[in-house]
Every structure is written in C-alpha cells, then in structure tokens.
C-alpha cells in the first residue's frame, strides 16, 4: 500500500502518460499497474487527461488531404499486405481488411488480428526491420559526423600542404643561389678575386669582387662597409681604361655582408671601385664618396 503511494508520487506515471519513457521503463509502469489497482486507476486518469488535452486540439485536416493521404496509406499497406500473403500460403487475401474496422467502440478486433499468423509474423518482421532501421540510423549519424570531421581535417591538411610547398620553393631558390655562390668561390681559375681596400676616409672598409673575364660575370662580396644613412646606397663601378662603367647597386643585404650578389656583366675592367650614391644609383660615380677601390 505504502509502496504504491510512493510509486504514484514518483512522477513515473506522468512520464509514462506524456510518452517520455523508453520501452523498458514503460514495461515497468505497466507491471506496476497490473499489480496495483490504485496505480492502474491513477494511470488511467492521467492517460485520459492527456488524451482529452490532445483531443481538445483536434483540427480537421483540409478536405483535399483526405483522398491523398488515404490513397498513399492504402497503397503502402497494400504492397506490404501483398508481400506478407505471398510469403505465407494459407491466409485469404481479404483477411487484413476487416481488422481495419477498428474504432474506440470495438478495439478488441485489433486483438483478434494479433492471433492470426501472418500478422504476428509480419509484426516480428516489422520489429526486426525497425531495429535494423534504428541501428542503421545510428550508424548513419555516426558516419556522418565522422565524415564531417574528416572533411575539415582534409581542408586543414591541404592548407598545411600548400604552406609546405611554398616553403620548399623558397628553400629551393635559396639553395640554388647558394650553390651558385659556392661555385663562384670554388672556381679560382675562372673567377679572379679582386680585393677592394678602404680609401683613407674609410680605412676599415673592405670588400671583394669576383670577376670572370671569360663569362663577364661580376659578383660582389662585402666584408665590412660603413652603415649608410636613409636614401643612400652603395654602387659598384668598373673602370675600363680610366672610364667608369656602372656595375649596379648593392642590395642592402649585400652591403651588410649577408651574401654574394651578382652584379651587371662587365666586358672588360682593370679596376673596381664603390661609391655612395642616392638610392637607385647614379649615371656617373660621385668620386668624393668613394669607399673602397682595388685593381685586378
């Protein structure tokens, strides 16, 4: 007695009535209802209450819907009924029809339907199919979320791959220029090394030119040059029979001594000299700013 009261108070019956419970919990409530008339009565009240509430929301569907829905439903039922009767040899094809005449006044007809074998078999098939469907739905949801994950992973991977490709291109370029510089340095018979010493004004300035008389290529290698103010740049000159020829301006990295720089090709020269010119270089050297000079 006490137990039933506790169970009634637990809120389980309301959950049952509101359709919130899973099949196992539903079965539990039904077992209680079967054991106790109080629980049964309480549950019926709640069910009737919610039923009444549902009925109060009744809304006649649009008339056009009636034929459409009925046609579709009958078509769907018809096909499965045909399949079922094909599988079982005995039942008369007309058998399912009367069981449909179920209403609130004679719900027991539904029970008789349960006894006939095709329906029972069909319902176990239906249960099996529903279980299979549920499993496949769960699997689909799982696969879908994995697929989404994989998709975003792929995008991330593609991005980082593109980044690596870029980096490796940059490295490639740097490597080839380094190799070229190395080649220049390791070919003393091809490249003549011309030491450029500081003029009296810049005694500690020091650089060298690597010059190939056969290929006319010129490289500059800075050891130490004074820092220049903004707007100024070092420019290399080749003096051929006393006439200055522009050999190009030094990039800032080159002037700082970071690497070799290939300058303009020079056909013939006896002396190399460097002056300070406005950024971009001048047509002729400003001799007063000469920083280093050296003869071949």
């Amino acid at each position: 007695m006490e137990d039933f009261q506790t169970y009634i108070e637990s809120g389980r019956l309301e959950q049952y009535a509101l359709g919130e419970l899973d099949p196992a919990a539903q079965a539990e409530v039904e077992a209680w209802a079967a054991r106790s008339s109080q629980v049964r009565q309480e549950l019926d009240e709640l069910l009737d209450g919610i039923g009444f509430y549902a009925e109060a929301h009744a809304q006649t569907p649009p008339a056009a819907l009636r034929d459409r829905v009925l046609r579709n439903v009958l078509a769907e039922i018809g096909t499965t009924a045909a399949v079922a009767s094909a599988a079982v040899v005995s039942p008369a094809p007309a058998a399912p029809a009367p069981t449909m005449r179920v209403s609130a006044s004679n719900p027991h007809l539904a029970k008789t339907a349960a006894v006939s074998p095709p329906v029972a078999q069909r319902s176990s098939w239906a249960i099996a199919a529903s279980v299979a469907l549920l499993l496949s739905l769960a699997a689909n949801a799982l696969l879908y979320s994995r697929w989404q994950q994989a998709d975003s992973d792929l995008v991330a991977a593609q991005n980082s791959q593109a980044r690596f490709a870029q980096t490796s291109q940059v490295m490639e370029r740097r490597l080839s220029s380094t190799q070229e510089q190395l080649h220049v340095l390791r070919s003393p018979q091809e490249f003549k090394m011309v030491a450029l010493a500081g003029t009296p004004a810049h005694a500690d300035a020091k650089a060298r030119v690597l010059y190939s008389a056969t290929t006319h290529r010129v490289f500059i290698d800075v050891q130490n040059l004074p820092k220049l103010p903004e707007g100024k740049q070092y420019q290399l000159w080749a003096l051929d029979k006393g006439k200055p020829v522009d050999a190009g301006v030094l990039a800032f990295a080159t002037a700082a001594g970071d690497s070799l720089q290939q300058m303009k090709d020079i056909a013939s020269a006896q002396t190399f000299a460097m002056t300070v010119e406005p950024t971009g270089g001048s047509v002729g050297p400003t001799l007063t700013t000469m920083t280093v000079v050296g003869n071949i």
């Binding site: 709640l46 209450g49 549902a54 009744a58 809304q59 009636r66 009925l70 329906v119």
Partner: protein, 158 residues
C-alpha cells in the same frame, strides 16, 4: 481504413500539426502514422489503455521524431530547443481560435504555468528535466505542475 481516418484524423492531425507546425509536414506525418498504426495494430494491447490514447501516442512520437531530426539538421540541440520554444510561444495565440471550444474550457481550468509545462512536455517533446531547464524551474516544480495539470484534465472528462 477510410472509417478509421474519418474517426481519428482530426484528433491526430491536430496533435501532429501542433507539434510540427507545418501543414505540409503534418500531412506527411499523418500518413506515416496511419501506416504505422496499421502495421502495429497487432501489438496493441487493450490493457494498456484506450485505443485513442495509443494511436495519438504513435502520431505524437512520429511528429516529435520529425522535429528532432529537423532540429538535428539545423544545428546543435540547444539551439533547436530555443527555436522550438520560440516557435511555440508564437504559435500559442493560434490555439485560442474560437472553434476550439474544448480548448477554451481547458484554458479556463489550467493556470498558464501548468499549460506551459504540459505544452512543452507534450507538444515540444521535452523530458521533464529538459522542461525544468528550459523554464528555469526546479525539476520538482515541473513534476508537480505536470501532475496537477493532468489531474485537472482527467476531472474535466468526468
């Protein structure tokens, strides 16, 4: 089947439409429900309650599955709940239409708080704890309200 349709379609359609809030979808769910009822007729047990309650429950569950899967498509669960609640609040006035005499009767008997709880639980497909969270109420309060409301409804029939 035709007879069944004429007897129950209004009740089922009303509940389904109240849940999915879309006439086109409601029609689809109604159709699905009728097929399902037909196929599960064998498992109906008179000891479990009235046939009406049973068929309404099948329709209601299908409709709730529908909005759940819709919410799933739209986005996260929380967002879905918010949406559905907002939609419900908007939809509320429409249920006060004069042709729903039974409904008016009910609204007089139930206080708004009880109605809100029942609506969330029954038409929103919320569990009691979800409803408690949604309404910012202790679970116990939600349980009491649901219980009282159902009791009042049950008395109305007698």
């Amino acid at each position: 089947m035709t007879e069944f349709y004429d007897r129950y379609s209004a009740a089922l359609y009303g509940v389904i439409n109240r849940i999915v809030k879309d006439e086109e979808e409601a029609a689809d769910v109604l159709q699905e429900a009728l097929v399902k009822i037909w196929h599960s007729m064998a498992s109906y047990d008179t000891s479990k309650g009235r046939l009406f309650t049973w068929v309404v429950n099948i329709s209601r569950n299908l409709a709730i599955d529908k909005i759940r899967s819709r919410q799933h498509r739209v986005g996260s669960r929380t967002q879905g709940l918010d949406d559905s609640l907002a939609a419900q609040r908007q939809a509320a006035p429409e249920t006060f239409r004069p042709e729903h005499v039974g409904l008016q009767e009910i609204t007089r008997k139930l206080v708004p708080e009880q109605r809100q709880v029942i609506d969330l639980l029954y038409f929103g497909g919320f569990t009691q704890s979800e409803a408690a969270e949604e309404l910012n109420l202790p679970l116990g309060t939600v349980k009491t309200r649901a219980r009282t409301a159902l009791k009042i409804l049950a008395k109305l029939i007698r």
